[in-house]
């Protein structure tokens, strides 16, 4: 390999100031495919319902397919629970509550929950692969984020089971009974962990309904719960679609409803259970502002923007989908963002180098396309990363819009996809005003080198989670949840326990 440093003398003359030279992220040294092998993962062809510690065929007699959104192949048939099945599950949960779980010492409940945590760690690889196959998320994320966090949530809440008196010192606490939990498809196993772990720690029993498009890891979790020898009926998993969820939410013997999903469904649930004295917690949509000041650590902010919106294909309720940039650094940010996006790799979720996986479902892809079309129609300027799109499956390349205004539809509606809307501001108060100018209030990000400004912004932003110089960080010790139409109740931390306890 002959080379000399003097080769550079032949370079073109430096361009005039102001002209920004593009970098070339080509194929000079491309990464070969690095697929995570699903060989030792076994997915049953058909799954029943996990009720009362047993696997049962649904009374409905119906099954529905769950597919791999990156290949459109059917992975398994899953039971479609009807109201009777839900009733069975709630009965089993009630019996388990009365017979075992509400009477057990907290320290013993803790040990069961620790067992679940350990088993998740032991089976992490398998669970991550199935998560990526069923939901389309990159294995890198299911392996490094979903799985460790799911285990951590069980670990964390296991520790609370015998310490609830400390959490609410001097106050009388009681468990609620049977919790009906309905979770979304964006973090299937992690959301199951967020729901089940605190419910169990607080002495409740559970009927959980995973999302229609991503039921598999919840069913594998049921297997773990079975192997952990939890008393039968303490956790029941019923699969199905919207009707199954509705039957669970309105079941008269469910004491507590916990829902994570869209704001529209959340509103329907809230209305449906009105007057029943059921306890309710809702974690709904968002349209988070990610605010970048001119004095921000720009390179890290660009990484944070990418992580904020393209993480998990943007299927994140707290995604930083509205980028608010101080006008003086708008061009710089956009330039750097484009170069950064040029390195994003979209493709097989099981490839360890994939950064952006498949869109979770055909329906969601249609929704994203509709909103992106709306953005284009409104005259916003679209940029999509030059990712090759696989032939099969549901894909949408990382995309952003510039030239949008606060009144643009893409600046107001939750897209739940890898689509960023870029807006500008001039002063901190203008940023606050724009950030809060939404019916949502789940999260926000602030990027500045000045600590006092982070706290100033955090004080003024109306959102449940504020990230300063970071984004999309989650931890079981940190309460998560929204203001306004992003829902109520918190998950994680001491505050999260209150959602599953009567505290006087």
């Amino acid at each position: 390999m002959a080379h000399t440093m003097t080769k550079r003398e032949g370079e073109a003359a430096p361009p005039s100031r102001g002209a920004i030279v593009a970098l070339d992220f080509g194929k000079a040294w491309d990464y070969a495919a690095a697929p995570e092998s699903p060989d030792h993962v076994s997915i049953d062809p058909k799954y029943g319902l996990f009720i009362g510690g047993r696997w049962v065929t649904p009374r409905s007699g119906r099954f529905f397919p769950t597919i791999n959104p990156s290949t459109e192949e059917v992975l398994a048939e899953v039971a479609d629970a009807n109201a009777q099945d839900v009733d069975d599950a709630v009965r089993a949960a009630r019996e388990a509550y009365d017979k075992y779980w509400s009477r057990m010492r907290g320290a013993d409940r803790a040990k069961y929950i620790f067992r679940i945590a350990r088993a998740i760690q032991e089976k992490a690889r398998e669970l991550a692969i199935v998560e990526s196959m069923d939901g389309g998320k990159p294995i890198k994320e299911s392996r490094d984020i979903d799985l460790p966090l799911a285990a951590a949530h069980f670990f964390y809440h296991a520790g609370w089971a015998d310490k609830l008196d400390y959490a609410f010192h001097g106050r009388r606490i009681r468990s609620l009974g049977v919790a009906g939990q309905i979770i979304p498809w964006n973090f299937p196993l992690l959301m199951a962990a967020w729901k089940i772990a605190p419910a169990l720690a607080c002495g409740n029993t559970v009927v959980l309904k995973p999302a229609e498009t991503t039921p598999l890891t919840a069913l594998l979790l049921a297997k773990i719960i079975e192997e952990a020898e939890l008393p039968p009926g303490v956790v029941n998993i019923v699969t199905g679609g919207g009707e199954t969820g509705a039957a669970l939410a309105i079941h008269p013997d469910v004491n507590k409803v916990a829902f994570t999903g869209s704001t529209s469904v959340g509103k329907r649930i809230q209305r449906a259970i009105a007057g029943t004295h059921k306890r309710l917690s809702l974690e709904l949509g968002g349209k988070a502002a990610n605010i970048v000041f001119a004095d921000a650590p720009i390179d890290q902010a660009v990484d944070g923007i990418v992580n904020g919106i393209y993480f998990n294909q943007g299927h994140v309720c707290c995604a930083g989908s509205r980028l608010l940039v101080e006008e003086s650094v708008h061009d710089v940010i956009v330039k750097k963002l484009r170069d950064r996006m040029a390195t994003l790799r979209m493709g097989s979720p099981l490839d360890k180098n994939t950064d952006v996986g498949a869109i979770n479902s055909k329906a969601q892809l249609a929704r994203i396309r509709e909103l992106v079309a709306a953005g284009e129609e409104e005259g916003c300027e679209r940029y999509s990363a030059p990712c090759p799109v696989p032939e099969k499956g549901y894909w949408f390349p990382p995309t952003f819009f510039t030239g949008a205004s606060m009144s643009s539809r893409i600046a107001r509606e939750e897209i739940f996809g890898p689509v960023l809307t870029i807006l500008t501001f001039r002063t901190p108060d203008e940023a606050v005003e724009k950030a809060n100018n939404t019916s949502y209030g789940l999260s926000a990000g602030v990027w500045t080198d000045k600590g006092a400004k982070i706290f100033y912004m955090a004080t003024k932003l109306k959102a449940g989670v504020i990230w300063g110089n970071t984004f999309n960080k989650f931890d079981p010790t940190s309460p998560f949840g929204g203001y306004k139409e992003s829902g109520f109740g918190r998950e994680g931390g001491r505050q999260g326990l209150a959602a599953y306890l009567g505290v006087e």
Binding site: M5, R17, D24, W29, Y31, D295, D299, V332
Partner: protein, 347 residues
């Protein structure tokens, strides 16, 4: 020509203006006011403030930087990718010996290793350069005559840089006179830490002039600078003062090169490229010991600066122990078997 380009770049930028940095300098002001008197010998150059007229403000968030560097370490490199990366790493290597006990014998052996790193596979190598003390430049030049392997010499009172400028410049000129193709200078970290940035700048640009046709790599010794912010500042300073390469470390101080430090320096190089179109090279040195680490660095380059920098012209590894590990991995890829250390020459 190169030296003059360094200066002209500087002049090109001098009208870009301030970016709010506290250092405000022009020709008429001694920007070293309040700094220790030992910089009296520093030649004055104009437009120092321009070195901050770069693309991004210098704020660096350590946590996010380290996260990004670590996440790039998770790329999975297999088969052809790994092989090509390892070959590239060999070709990018500045094989280094910088010891008090260096002798012509040792240097000659190192030269041979650089020329033909793996006799079993002549397509591997040669290395980019060997890096020695000035006293061994003549030996190395003679031994490497006719090969593409460059001879790099450390200079400017390596490794501490704690000598008067005239000594440092003499050190540099002698190394160049001996035939060094590349000069690896050290900055005065003490001056950097007390905020005497002008002194650092001036020493670099004076050394650049002293280099003549030799290329200049500027060693920041990041392990002594204490913060990413100061590393960023030193990188910008070095580039503005005429560095062809910026380099992390002497190898004598821990920590030496790390992925986040390297990523940060690559980002400064990127900003400079955005602003000027000029490509500056990068050399992590010290602490890169395994093939796996080397590939991690290549990923940092690929995903920060892109294809153009994936060449020995613009990226080097300063290392001694690294080569054999890379060779072992290459042989492992070729034969399918894990290798034994004793099968590789230990020069």
């Amino acid at each position: 020509m190169i030296a003059s380009r360094g200066v002209s770049t500087l002049e090109d930028q001098s009208d870009i203006g301030e970016t709010g940095e506290s250092l405000k300098c022009d020709d008429s002001v001694s920007y070293s006011e309040g700094a220790p008197a030992f910089n009296a010998d520093a030649p004055r150059r104009g437009g120092v403030g321009s070195m901050y007229a770069l693309f991004a403000p210098p704020a660096v968030d350590a946590v996010a930087l380290e996260e990004r560097a670590a996440s790039l370490g998770k790329r999975s490199l297999k088969g052809e990718t790994k092989l090509a990366g390892l070959r590239l790493a060999v070709a990018m290597m500045d094989l280094t010996t910088l010891e008090g006990k260096d002798t012509p014998g040792k240097v000659n052996q190192l030269c041979e290793k650089a020329r033909i790193p793996l006799y079993q596979d002549p397509s591997v190598g040669p290395c980019a350069a060997i890096c020695v003390y000035p006293n061994h430049v003549v030996t190395a030049k003679a031994r490497l005559a006719g090969s593409s392997v460059k001879v790099a010499s450390v200079a400017t009172a390596f490794p501490s840089g704690q000598s008067p400028l005239d000594i440092k410049l003499a050190d540099t000129r002698r190394a160049v006179d001996f035939g060094a193709d590349e000069i690896d200078m050290v900055i005065d970290r003490g001056a950097m830490l007390v905020g005497d940035f002008a002194r650092v700048f001036d020493e670099i640009s004076a050394t650049k002039e002293a280099c003549g046709h030799a290329h200049l790599k500027v060693i920041l010794e990041t392990g002594e600078l204490g913060s990413y912010d100061l590393i960023r500042k030193a990188s910008e300073l070095a580039i503005a003062a005429g560095a062809d390469f910026i380099k992390t470390s002497t190898g004598k101080i821990q920590p030496a090169a790390t992925p986040p430090v390297t990523l940060l320096m690559l980002e400064v190089i990127r900003d400079h490229y955005y602003a000027s179109g000029r490509r500056i090279g990068m050399k992590p040195a010290g602490g890169v010991r395994t093939a796996k680490q080397a590939l991690h660095y290549l990923v940092l380059v690929k995903e920060t600066l892109g294809d153009a920098w994936l060449t020995p012209d613009l990226f080097r590894f300063g290392a001694s122990a690294l080569l054999n590990d890379v060779l072992m991995q290459l042989e492992k890829q070729r034969t399918g078997n894990y290798q034994a250390a004793d099968d590789f020459s230990k020069d």
